[in-house]
Assembly symmetry: D3
Homo-oligomer: 317 residues x 6
Amino acid sequence: MTKLLTQYQENDHLDLFALIKSADVRLTKTGKQYISLVFSDRSGDLPGNLWDAKSDQIQEFVTGKIVKLQGVRGSFKDQPQVQITSLRLAEAGEPDNPAEFMAHAPVKKSDMEEQLNDYLLQISQPTWNRIIRKLFNKFHDDFLNYPAAKKNHHAFSGGLAFHSLSIAHLAESVADQYPQLNRDLLLSGALLHDLGKVIELSGPVATEYTLAGDLIGHISIIDEQLVLAANELNFDLNSEELLILRHVVLSHHGLLEYGSPVRPELMEAEILHQLDNLDASMQMMTGALDKTANGEFSKRIFGLDNRRFYKPSEFDQ
Amino acid sequence: MTKLLTQYQENDHLDLFALIKSADVRLTKTGKQYISLVFSDRSGDLPGNLWDAKSDQIQEFVTGKIVKLQGVRGSFKDQPQVQITSLRLAEAGEPDNPAEFMAHAPVKKSDMEEQLNDYLLQISQPTWNRIIRKLFNKFHDDFLNYPAAKKNHHAFSGGLAFHSLSIAHLAESVADQYPQLNRDLLLSGALLHDLGKVIELSGPVATEYTLAGDLIGHISIIDEQLVLAANELNFDLNSEELLILRHVVLSHHGLLEYGSPVRPELMEAEILHQLDNLDASMQMMTGALDKTANGEFSKRIFGLDNRRFYKPSEFDQ
Amino acid sequence: MTKLLTQYQENDHLDLFALIKSADVRLTKTGKQYISLVFSDRSGDLPGNLWDAKSDQIQEFVTGKIVKLQGVRGSFKDQPQVQITSLRLAEAGEPDNPAEFMAHAPVKKSDMEEQLNDYLLQISQPTWNRIIRKLFNKFHDDFLNYPAAKKNHHAFSGGLAFHSLSIAHLAESVADQYPQLNRDLLLSGALLHDLGKVIELSGPVATEYTLAGDLIGHISIIDEQLVLAANELNFDLNSEELLILRHVVLSHHGLLEYGSPVRPELMEAEILHQLDNLDASMQMMTGALDKTANGEFSKRIFGLDNRRFYKPSEFDQ
Amino acid sequence: MTKLLTQYQENDHLDLFALIKSADVRLTKTGKQYISLVFSDRSGDLPGNLWDAKSDQIQEFVTGKIVKLQGVRGSFKDQPQVQITSLRLAEAGEPDNPAEFMAHAPVKKSDMEEQLNDYLLQISQPTWNRIIRKLFNKFHDDFLNYPAAKKNHHAFSGGLAFHSLSIAHLAESVADQYPQLNRDLLLSGALLHDLGKVIELSGPVATEYTLAGDLIGHISIIDEQLVLAANELNFDLNSEELLILRHVVLSHHGLLEYGSPVRPELMEAEILHQLDNLDASMQMMTGALDKTANGEFSKRIFGLDNRRFYKPSEFDQ
Amino acid sequence: MTKLLTQYQENDHLDLFALIKSADVRLTKTGKQYISLVFSDRSGDLPGNLWDAKSDQIQEFVTGKIVKLQGVRGSFKDQPQVQITSLRLAEAGEPDNPAEFMAHAPVKKSDMEEQLNDYLLQISQPTWNRIIRKLFNKFHDDFLNYPAAKKNHHAFSGGLAFHSLSIAHLAESVADQYPQLNRDLLLSGALLHDLGKVIELSGPVATEYTLAGDLIGHISIIDEQLVLAANELNFDLNSEELLILRHVVLSHHGLLEYGSPVRPELMEAEILHQLDNLDASMQMMTGALDKTANGEFSKRIFGLDNRRFYKPSEFDQ
Amino acid sequence: MTKLLTQYQENDHLDLFALIKSADVRLTKTGKQYISLVFSDRSGDLPGNLWDAKSDQIQEFVTGKIVKLQGVRGSFKDQPQVQITSLRLAEAGEPDNPAEFMAHAPVKKSDMEEQLNDYLLQISQPTWNRIIRKLFNKFHDDFLNYPAAKKNHHAFSGGLAFHSLSIAHLAESVADQYPQLNRDLLLSGALLHDLGKVIELSGPVATEYTLAGDLIGHISIIDEQLVLAANELNFDLNSEELLILRHVVLSHHGLLEYGSPVRPELMEAEILHQLDNLDASMQMMTGALDKTANGEFSKRIFGLDNRRFYKPSEFDQ
């Protein structure tokens, strides 16, 4: 099996197909044109520069093209990059489907869809059930395709559903262990809490913040959608069952400093926040340690207070 | 002119009419009944205990009654209180209108109503104008009667309108001085920013947080009302003009730590936040210094980082 | 079934047996003797004062006695207390076992012992297994009897084992969901992390910090015990398997500010910290909400940033 | 009308006269000489490098020279810069007055002088009036010519007077709205608060911190000048009127963390601090948005907690 | 030798002479007069209430009187107090000198005076020498008599000199160990740094903050005095030798948050700040441990982050 | 006397012998090989690049070689570096002892050894004496040879002993001045507090953190060594004399945030922390000012909150 882009070590020779994820034409300090490229496949990204770029190259090597890439895995300012030795477009008979070169959730979309449907069946509280069904009808495809973030954790296609469903799994275990928790409320929160990201972000690929994302944020956006759905279904916005559902979603960042307008004041809200945190941490640590050799420390992880994590050697276990 | 409740100094003899603002029957440490009373008139509040309360007194001296109060202005743990020497219900021919014994805004309601109407005429941007008119139709009376807070600044009947209109006045001056500001947006923010308090709080008098106030908060509540109004008027929720109006309101607490889900990212949002702060500070400092003698420091003001403020002597000015 | 001490509401008449948990003779401000008592049963504590205490009462009503208590559930400074109307020692034929009047873990000691043994069997990594067995032999009884804290969460007899085993249960679910975690290490951390409390605290009942607890703290104490055990078993203190076991335990408070000398730098260390937090939060919220009526907010919980939690009404679920 | 230096967009061709604001001869990593230049005109600055600099060029292109500059507006590390294609000294008949190529306040110096005199007439409290007149006689020219800062807001010639007078304008509006404020004290603070900058900074152009600026700071410097002036006028330093004037000036940074040795404890001190903040914010936001296209976010503003600000599109207003 | 006021333990009987340090007539909650007294001798203070005070007692027992006090050492809210059983004025032949009943520095004033003179001789830098001599001439007596604080450390007569001279002693040792330090500058800072307290505080006994103390603070006050002295001696305020002397004094609180307008930027300024801290810590710890039994923890010390300190038992040393 | 590496100013020509402290072969952005070198002598380090490196050069110029270096002292991104003009290996008859080219403590090792022995004799408390002797026997050579840190203060050979002994000297002076301090305990803490660094760091030269250093840290490591030594000597780990010795060492970072698992709760612990801080500050300031000209500010010092320190001119002293 061929190695993927991010699996090469320093000084390895690369020879593989990759997708051009972005391509910017720039000038060197001394004024010569080059293309600053980012290559990707399903393992992740690798940047590299094509020096002294000719005008036909500038026209060929644009975002979205699949290319045959040869070079050496070097690094620049401690970040991996490829020193390109040869670059050409993929030809007839070679890979031609960009979707195969993008990172995506490690679970199949159809499996996630099935899990989602299972959970929707489990939520039996009638008001919550109707609102959640309404919203997942409206955003069904985006929920399954969007990433959960622009960078940091779950920043891949399908990441939003993958993250939300992971939390739902955790919620089930925790609700089993602590029966004083309202399972329906916890599951509703797990599914809904980040759904505003389908409006906050621009799309599944090369995602950016939308204007609504920048000025309003995904927490107020999902609250807006809850308000609209409840209004359409003629529910009373001031009923306790609606207020606590909105509260669980509004408070899921846990601290005001992290953008929740209220702190958790329900057991389920506090626990949802903690499980959200746990799954995001697992994803960030796993991602960093996947690129780390045994017996070494990972790179610093911004979302975990810039800590490095150690990957133990293979000792007697 | 007779002195009001909060204008007496330590050891003065009081003799006046007052409203019973609250009355709780309690037991002393050694088990005897007494009534813990809070008296009020339009100058503010003064607590006092009626010791060894008889059962007919417990039935007579309840919240909402006007009473003739005699006693001595003492203090307990550095807080003013009255040592009651005589207490009876007001009789025929004596004051009988509770509204005259409540603190209220220092401007007449009809004047505030007129100012509100003037400002509504000034906002010419058509989308904002229609939304704001819709919301001020819906909440017209509550806006004019509610306090702006449970305690701290503007915690009196009409305080919400008084505070909002003060900010609108400031906004006019600032928009004159800095023409790069969008005056319509600044005025819209001034009027709307705290309007969610008519749902967050329970009413104009003896106000408490509602469940919506506790679990959702006035910032998300006014955003909810903006969403519903825009939806009913068939405006596009993702249009820039709606997003920036919502942003100005959502961000008006300035910092995430203070409960805004987003920080100000528009000039008008930043300035609205600063003017909100300025008017609240003025109200808190003025309230504290009104009760302070010349050449003395006020009590510590919780909302201003527990600072005391100095009231200068009458020097040559 | 009779109501327990903490299940009475304000103004209810109490009539029950209780244990005297503490009894201090004090003087009133004006110099009269009274006994400041704390009563307890398995639901928790309730303080009350016996006024004008006679010298025979002072000799009778001492810590450890079971008494028949009658009175009214009042409150003082917002804390529940009992106004004692009658108090006498329990007589022949009435309850006489103090152990039945103490709060304890909601699981039987024998069940916890069995669970502990199960977990010890599950940890297959040989070095960790031998060290943990050695330490649980040494501290077997104290582990099952000690509380997990002086106050806040799990401050009851058996609380240490109950808390540690709850985390072990959570650890199992999480290790199932994320197979990249080392289950042995996570379970080892769950069992060991708070074991130093058997030296930090003075005993299962009326526990206080020992001098070692004050000056060294339970984190360095359990590290000390790991060092001694490894030394006795002739393990190399600088081997990776020992360093990572110690790291997981040393870092389990998550932040330096909370007393860990190092922050988590292993996946399992980070997750142990989060699960510790989750179980402590659940215990604190559950404890506070048990004393809260439906549709009300709990008292503020010190260990959760002084937040109050809401207990929803019984709506249609 | 010709475009100014900072009005060109990425990839535009520049052809204009500019002042050399600084010129440093440096070596490339591989040891070749180049001149690192900063060009300026009244719109602001633009850096650029002259590669492979000859020795006659090194002698010609020095600070203070006016040059004819041709090149392309590129960028380096996200900062605008010019790729120089041609550079020569201005010749006879071409612009020759450096003052025309420097940024300055958007108001004429003579207008600011007139406003200053007006305000000096308005301050009627005799002690303050005499002290302020004495200090503005002493520092008259420097007040009108100095910038208010080395970078951030009002970092241009005349910025000190422009900023101080803006605050005085705001102070007038606020004193009108809140008559409880002492207008004389507020105006005195507005004029004096930053006057120490004429000793803290080295001069109107290319300003640097002086040793007094670094070791003492402008707040203690203006206090020193107030002390000396009061001493010379034989005023009592411990009189209330002098203490409150000094307090307003000493506390104007609002927080100890920002270098005030005392926090505001007078209404006027608190309001001066807030108005200082408001004017500085307006200046920073306006400066950043002037360089931002409609519908885009500005660059991050260091002095406003690194926030970006959005410049709305031209919608229907 | 008779025990002093603060040397009695809980429940001891007191019988001694003491000074009335303060006497306030108050009402009980139920309206009866009592005198709230604070007694002192050279060991410190002890409060106590005289219940049901008669009017002749109210006239007799006033601040400044020496009394014969009998009673029991009790406590109220964990603070020591005396339950008074007998109280009368001192009579002829009994102690009559209030000064003997006040806490003062543990070194004789004449010794401190001598030490001060020695240090003044040691400072050989001519500018600093002349300024310091001028200021210590002006404030000679107050320097030797004032406390260093209203409460916390060195809050006794002579505390200012005692604290300043302790730092000077430390400064000598440190300057010996690190010859790169400027000994003259360090000694000058040690003597001058708190001298502004003679204006910040009202006097040696029962000291309060003056208006200058509240609004300006002792750091800006000593800077003011340095400016005036330098001006009178015709020194250049912008000379380096004056700027660094002022810097050392202005920065001695170390952090802006603690009221220094600049942080230390000279070695001597940093070290003076650290030595100031060390001596204050020693004084606070010593004061607290003097009242603590062996093998116990002291009360929490506010000025040391509310820490308690442990006083070891007498073990084999 | 020849100038040393760090004593050259910008643009000076260098011609000297130096040690290659590190040598990494890298690629330029455009793919050419160069050697990134760090040169050192006893004055410190200086980096420089050898461009277009030939393969024989790559083999010759490796870590540990002494070279003859010629070049120009330039700078890159404000850091000093050398532009190499000529580089060759030292030849026969030229310097050949690498030890002469490394930074080391400014005191001879034999002197430090003698001081250590003196202090060991001074500690008369028998338990502490035996433990400390045991540990200094075990780590005698490493104590004298290790640095005290990887960077920041005392990061040179012998730095650990130099720092520890400096603190011991300070401790003597302070114990003289405050006889209430336990001199033995303070000296024991001075010698032991950083001894864990001989396990935390990899060795005297080119030191790195070991795995134990990263995962456990030097504070828990020295506690481990104290526990093992006490165990071997059959001392009771829970005796007060051992608990307070461990406490002094465990708490010496002063704040939990700095990695101490407990805060100082003994006078000697607090003072040791302050003296540790004082000596580290002196070392950092001295190091920075040694490279600073008179009348200039030093570079910012990371370990002192990024402050710059001023080196006064040579004025009349």
